[in-house]
């Protein structure tokens, strides 16, 4: 196959025409609070009645323009996305740089049989406006695109999770595990030959053994939902919205009948009970909302290893999401345990993979391998995904010694003392009551407890070709990174660390958090670990007599 730069014979494809319905609807939904505000103004005799219509029209026109100007095409070598009306922009990426293909769908998308496709390329996802996102394709086109882009060397094509379009998919055989292998020819693509390799790959796929399920949501896991505190964020957003609406629309929420009478009754209760009741109400709301959120996001969660070794995660009650992680891009796993979750024996599991960055907005959920679940399950999944013994996910680590422990205490207590000092100073300057700064003394034992826990968790280990680092207390994270995934080292030593012979060793990586640090290691140990992990890289820079 020749890879000429232009390849004029490959046609540019459009998004699904059905996305013309979705985009304006989504835009209008997003504008809903604003439109409601306008409606309200109008009811008070304002002249804003045409604005709402204007915005609705604008949304429709914008979406038509977007649909007309967005094209994509897949050649043998590259993926192109073209967009923009006045300033036309063509994004392109080499097909062998495609790391992940993520399909997601809101309820509306699902009703229309559409999927939003995000192509993770590792480099371009850093900048906004340069993402390879196709919003939206029909389910069949989206799945065919995913299969094509991740097709190397063979591709498996499983039955769709949300009801595909039989017209576009004609079955070519039933696999051993009851999985349908399909030859895909999206209606939009026309005759074969546009995507020459696709059909060949699907034929080859029929010979591969079935998918293996690694994990599936167990309803009992929902007990961990209230501990994730996602409800807190949502309550904050709702509260902020009410306050803003209150201000903007001059509605006094407190004056509405039922709210008002509730407020009056509440005021009659003694202060202690009022605080207790308030706290209980907030905790209850957080728990309920967190649980609802957990169910909505993780319902039907399934992690499957496909025949070609790649991992596919599907989930969602109303909006579905399905992410496929190419096995060649997987560099490690991370087991993370926020404090509350850890106290209840729960943990999450996240993939360390290139192309999906940890903790980055829309892509955040893509690298998740396991929602909050029992710790033993998280460890089993981590071990299974990486093909390592569970020992690496549970076993003891090399601790960093008494000097590292002293630093943990020193740092925690010094910051506590600083806060106490500031509080005391403010109390003294504003002649506030003494119990405030006396109360802040509780930070000292809390700081000490934090330091003790941080030290207990701090550790590293290098076995089976994986670098394991563990750190943190409020969120404890154990990262298991394959040494092939390490693309450089950073050794950092502050003046204070130098006096104690400690150094922070950081492995840099193109995957996940991009850097994985082992804090306050004894210097000799840090060099020994770096040398053992990537010998050829570090050995030339060791001092004489330090070899090996």
């Amino acid at each position: 196959m020749s890879g000429s730069a232009s390849e004029p014979d490959v046609v540019w494809l459009r998004l699904s025409p059905r996305s013309l319905i979705v985009r304006p609807t989504m835009d209008l939904l997003r504008l809903l609070p604003f439109l409601l505000g306008l409606l309200y103004l109008r009811s008070r005799g304002g002249s804003a009645n045409y604005w709402g219509v204007g915005f609705a029209l604008l949304a429709v026109v914008a979406s038509i323009v977007r649909w007309l100007t967005t094209r994509y095409r897949i050649t043998d070598e590259r993926v192109y996305v073209r967009r923009g009306l006045l300033s036309q922009k063509v994004l392109s990426v080499s097909r062998d740089r495609v790391r992940t293909v993520d399909l997601s769908a809101h309820v509306l998308y699902r009703m229309l049989g559409l999927r939003r496709v995000s192509i993770g390329t590792g480099r371009n996802d850093r900048r906004d406006g340069e993402s390879f996102r196709l919003d939206a394709l029909t389910l069949a086109d989206a799945e065919a695109l995913r299969a094509l882009l991740l097709a190397a060397p063979v591709v498996r094509f499983a039955t769709s999770t949300a009801g595909g379009e039989p017209a576009a998919v004609d079955a070519a055989g039933i696999g051993p595990a009851g999985v349908r292998h399909a030859r895909v020819r999206p209606a939009q693509l026309g005759p074969a030959g546009v995507w020459p390799e696709a059909s060949a790959h699907f034929d080859a796929a029929a010979a591969v053994a079935g998918d293996t399920e690694i994990a599936r949501l167990h309803p009992a896991w929902i007990r961990f939902a209230p501990l994730t505190l996602t409800g807190m964020v949502i309550i904050g957003v709702i509260f902020g919205f009410i306050v803003q609406f209150n201000d903007a629309a001059h509605i006094d929420v407190a004056a509405i009948g039922p709210v008002h009478s509730l407020g009056v009754e509440y005021a009659g209760v003694p202060l202690g009970l009022r605080i207790l009741g308030g706290v209980l109400a907030v905790v209850f709301c957080i728990a309920v909302i967190s649980t609802a959120g957990y169910v909505a996001v993780f319902w039907n969660f399934r992690l499957v290893r496909l025949g070609d070794g790649s991992l596919r995660q599907t989930r969602g009650l109303l909006s579905t999401r399905s992410t496929t992680i190419d096995a060649r891009r997987l560099r490690g796993v991370e087991i993370s345990e926020p404090l509350l979750l850890r106290a209840a024996g729960g943990a999450r599991c996240i993939a360390i993979t290139t192309g999906l960055r940890v903790g980055r907005g829309a892509e955040r959920g893509g690298s998740l391998l396991l929602p909050p679940a029992p710790r033993s399950v998280a460890r089993r999944v981590a071990a299974d995904v990486m093909g390592i013994t569970e020992q690496l996910c549970t076993g003891a680590l090399v601790q960093h010694g008494p000097r590292a422990r002293r630093r943990r205490y020193l740092r925690a207590l010094a910051s506590s003392a600083l806060i106490i000092g500031v509080v005391a100073l403010v109390c003294w300057a504003a002649s506030g009551p003494a119990w405030i700064w006396l109360g802040s003394l509780v930070l000292l034992p809390l700081g000490a407890a934090l330091a003790a826990d941080r030290y207990r968790n701090l550790g590293h280990r290098l076995t089976e070709g994986r670098l394991v680092t563990c750190t943190g207390s409020l969120v404890r994270r154990r990262s298991i990174l394959a040494t092939e995934g390490i693309i450089g080292w950073r050794l950092h030593q502050s003046w204070f660390q130098r006096r104690q012979g400690l150094v922070t060793l950081t492995a840099t990586s193109a995957a996940g958090r991009q850097h994985y640090a082992a804090r306050d290691m004894p210097a000799a140990e840090a060099l020994a670990v770096a040398t053992a992990a990537t010998g050829q890289l570090v050995r030339p820079f060791l001092a004489a007599g330090q070899d090996g």
């Binding site: 080499s94 062998d96 740089r97 590792g122 480099r123 850093r126 891009r329 290139t354 960055r357 693309i487 450089g488 080292w489 950073r490 050794l491 950092h492 030593q493 502050s494 003046w495 130098r498 150094v503 950081t506 840099t508 990586s509 193109a510 995957a511 991009q514 850097h515 210097a523 000799a524 060099l527 770096a530 050829q536 890289l537 570090v538 050995r539 030339p540 820079f541 060791l542 001092a543 004489a544 007599g545 330090q546 070899d547």
Partner: protein, 170 residues
């Protein structure tokens, strides 16, 4: 390659990268530190005068002037002794910092882009820096305070070396 060269006096297990940066960097860092110090002191003077603050505040101004002067006098020499770099056919090895010191080892095979940026100050003093970025967003490797000809040579060398290795460097 056999390990040779002197042991790093800051981290004895490592050896010191072989090259120092340009001597002119000391002058540049001094000028920059002095300028920054002057700006801070000038702002403080304006605040004290315009705000009509008590004369006691002049002590604070004097104190920050002294700190700035000491910083400008000490930091550049200290930094000059720390900043070192080395390029082998396998890796880029740098040491930088002053109060806190950082060593970086980046394999040539994983370097994605090499560029050079010259600020106005660096141009005045005939200096340049070389930045090698890898596929990791953990931060590119900088070599700061090189003289212009060295930087150009290094850029060419690295460009040739990185161009020879296929793959996507992740």
């Amino acid at each position: 390659m056999t390990p040779d060269g002197t042991a790093d006096r800051l981290l004895p297990g490592l050896r010191t990268p072989s090259n120092q940066v340009s001597r002119r960097a000391v002058t540049y860092w001094t000028a920059r530190a002095a300028l920054n110090g002057l700006v801070v002191v000038a702002v403080e003077v304006v605040v004290v005068i315009a705000g009509g603050l008590a004369p006691g505040w002049w002590i604070a101004v004097a104190l920050s002037a002294i700190i700035g002067a000491v910083h400008a006098a000490i930091m550049p020499h200290w930094r000059y002794r720390v900043h070192r770099w080395e390029v082998t056919d396998q890796a880029l090895y740098t040491r930088s910092g002053w109060f806190s010191v950082q060593w970086r080892i980046a394999p040539i095979s994983r370097i994605q882009t090499i560029d050079s940026h010259r600020s106005l100050g660096e141009r005045i003093f005939g200096l340049a820096n070389v930045t090698a970025s890898t596929a990791s967003a953990a931060g590119p490797v900088h070599i700061r305070g090189l003289d212009l000809s060295t930087a150009d040579r290094l850029l060419d060398e690295l460009a040739i070396a990185t161009g020879q290795i296929p793959g996507d460097a992740t």
